[in-house]
């Protein structure tokens, strides 16, 4: 402090201390209120996955055979669920990216930054709100799945593991979302990236069709695609069709889908979280 400072620091109110958990929760509650009041912004988590389940189960399903369960019309519907879970969780990227982009463009970020709140609590609040948000499609899809004849057929432990794996993957997706929003900054650009990059990526995977049916390069991409990994891991843990007849010479991810998913979740988090935090800091610092 310079000698010319006229007011002594001791005259100031006492330091109330940093309360990161409290601040994060206040901002997370705000995020949840936003979701409740913008049901249209929840389409990717509510209406869309249900529509995909019904469309693929009843429109395309008849034309797609699941290896190891040929001739069983119910098999595809069960196979499908792991895929649409994976796709919907991947779209979790956009939930957090859209809500951050909204804050960048509404001046809310400046308001928060002028407050004496714990560093990082705005970001953490968005992350927590979006983790909670992810419970919406997971619940709705599980219910829709039960109606169309899907069910977890593995052990209770495996079923719990499947749901835990979903949230681990969502956690990783949130960091991609933060990174994306900090880089492109506007809701329109976030949506642009959604349709150009991520939407196709969820199709070049084992989401809707077994990867063994894909040609050449697409097959290789799909086999190593993390979205396939999630879909396959869920099928395995739910003991749903599609994972029983993996050829011995198939790539490693197909034989170890749960481990491969966890590797992806950890790797994405380790790489994207620091990058995302840095991009976020830079995007708000000027």
């Amino acid at each position: 402090m310079s000698a010319t400072t006229a007011t002594p620091a001791t005259a100031k109110p006492a330091d109330h201390g940093s309360r990161p958990v409290h601040d994060t929760w206040v901002i997370a509650k705000r995020g949840i209120k936003h979701m409740r009041r913008q049901p249209e912004a929840l389409a990717d988590a509510t209406f869309q996955p249900i529509m995909f389940v019904l469309l693929f189960a009843y429109v395309f399903g008849g034309a797609i055979a699941v290896p190891g369960a040929e001739g069983d019309p119910g098999a595809y519907r069960e196979f499908l669920m792991g895929g649409i879970f994976a796709q919907t969780l991947t779209f979790g990227v956009f939930g957090v990216a859209m809500s951050l982009a909204y804050d960048f463009n509404s001046g809310a970020m400046d308001r928060f930054r002028s407050l004496p709140i714990a560093k990082g609590s705005v970001l953490a609040g968005h992350a927590v709100a979006n983790l909670i948000r992810a419970a919406i499609p997971v619940t709705l899809m599980s219910l829709t799945g039960l109606i169309v004849g899907w069910q977890p057929r593995g052990s209770v432990f495996d079923t719990i593991a499947a749901y835990a794996l979903m949230f681990a993957f969502v956690f990783a997706m949130i960091w991609i979302g933060v990174l994306l929003a900090s880089l492109v900054r506007t809701p329109e650009a976030v949506q642009g990236v959604a349709f150009v990059a991520i939407f196709p990526l969820t199709f070049v995977a084992s989401t809707f069709v077994p990867t063994s049916t894909l040609p050449g390069v697409l097959k290789t991409i799909a086999e190593w695609n993390p979205i396939s990994a999630v879909a396959n891991a869920l099928r395995e843990l739910f003991n749903n069709p599609g994972m029983s007849d993996i050829p011995a010479d198939a790539p490693w991810p197909l034989h170890h889908s749960v481990a491969y998913t966890l590797i992806w979740a950890v790797a994405i988090t380790l790489v994207c979280a620091p990058l995302a935090i840095r991009a976020y800091q830079r995007s708000i610092s000027d």
Binding site: T5, A9, K12, H16, K33, S106, G107, D110
Partner: protein, 330 residues
């Protein structure tokens, strides 16, 4: 360098560059505690940049500043605890109700849940928003949004308030309402720094006016001092009959010992004077003696628009390259 005045805001030689453009070129500011300072300047003069540095949103590239006695560069959290900021676009959360907006900010200021709720009710009452308190803020009118924004800014009773163009975009009625609110705030001893493009607003609200242009302070003082720099008071007469304007102007000129300026459309004659009310009395008698019917006769000070024109050589609304810089900063 020791000063007996307690400055709530003190800045020395603030510099801010965006790329190879310089938005602030060494700005000094000193706002005594409990006073109102208006930073007046055209769009892109650097006003918002200065506010962003003082509120810790942006780091300066040179110079230093303290707010509430704390260094904005090294004691950010302590500064943020002492200030309230109303940014240029009222940053209320449209998807929350007015009450929820205020409660959330109270909680983020660590007032505690119950106290935050009570404070929100108080502020809604003070800002005539009680009836609208449970409506979503996106349904508010422009004036209501600004009032809520201002209420949000003072949730934690800050010592120093920054208002960046608080009435931009408001209609005259909403502006008057907001001014009344600001008057009562200042009455409670809050230090206030506001930026404005409206000369009338600076004059109406501020003890001190800092005129800033192209990133530099070009003049500083209370409005009377600034006006004195561009000449003294003026005598003005509006006649009823346009045919008598010339005659009236001649009388005015004789009374003030200077040549009167005519505005024929407004039936208005104006002359600078240094003898104040005495000249006014003399002219009044002379006009009556000459049988000239007068609609209006009075003393007037030059407007701050005229001050600005004299100081910068350009009208107050002249565009500048800093426009884009400040855009880019946000």
């Amino acid at each position: 360098m020791t000063s007996t005045t307690t400055y709530a805001i003190e800045a020395k030689g603030l510099v801010k560059r965006y790329g190879d453009k310089t938005a602030l070129k060494g700005v000094d500011l000193a706002v005594p505690a409990g006073t109102v300072t208006a930073v007046l300047g055209p769009n892109g003069a650097g006003k918002t940049t200065a506010v962003r540095i003082l509120t810790t949103l942006t780091k300066s590239d040179g110079g230093s500043a303290t707010v509430g006695g704390f260094d904005v560069a090294t004691q950010g959290t302590l500064v943020r605890r002492s200030i309230g900021l109303a940014a240029q676009d009222a940053t209320v959360d449209g998807l929350l109700t007015g009450r929820e907006n205020l409660r959330m900010l109270g909680e983020l200021h660590h007032l505690g849940k119950a106290a935050a709720a009570q404070r929100a009710d108080e502020l809604l009452e003070d800002f005539s928003l009680t009836d609208a308190g449970d409506r979503l803020a996106k349904e508010y009118s422009g004036g209501m949004r600004r009032r809520l924004d201002l209420a949000a800014t003072i949730v934690a009773r800050p010592e120093v308030l920054f208002l960046d163009e608080p009435t931009t975009g408001l209609d005259p009625r909403a502006r008057n309402e907001l001014w009344a609110v600001l008057d009562s705030l200042v009455g409670r001893g809050t230090t206030l720094m506001l930026t404005t493009q409206y000369l009338e607003e600076a004059e109406r609200l501020a003890d001190d006016i800092v005129v800033i242009d192209h990133g530099k302070v070009i003049a500083q003082g209370d409005s009377r001092e600034l006006k004195r720099r561009v000449g003294g008071d003026q005598l003005q007469v509006v006649v009823s009959d346009p045919a008598q304007l010339e005659h009236a102007a001649a009388i005015l000129g004789r009374g003030a010992n200077a040549e009167a300026q005519l505005d024929v459309g407004a039936r208005l004659a104006t002359v600078p004077t240094r003898s104040g009310v005495a000249a006014l009395a003399a002219v009044s008698v002379a006009l009556a003696d000459a049988g000239i019917e007068v609609d209006d006769l009075g003393m007037r000070q030059p407007t701050l628009d005229e001050v600005f024109l004299t100081l910068t050589g350009a009208p107050a609304d002249a565009p500048s390259i800093n426009d884009e810089l400040e855009e880019a900063a946000r």
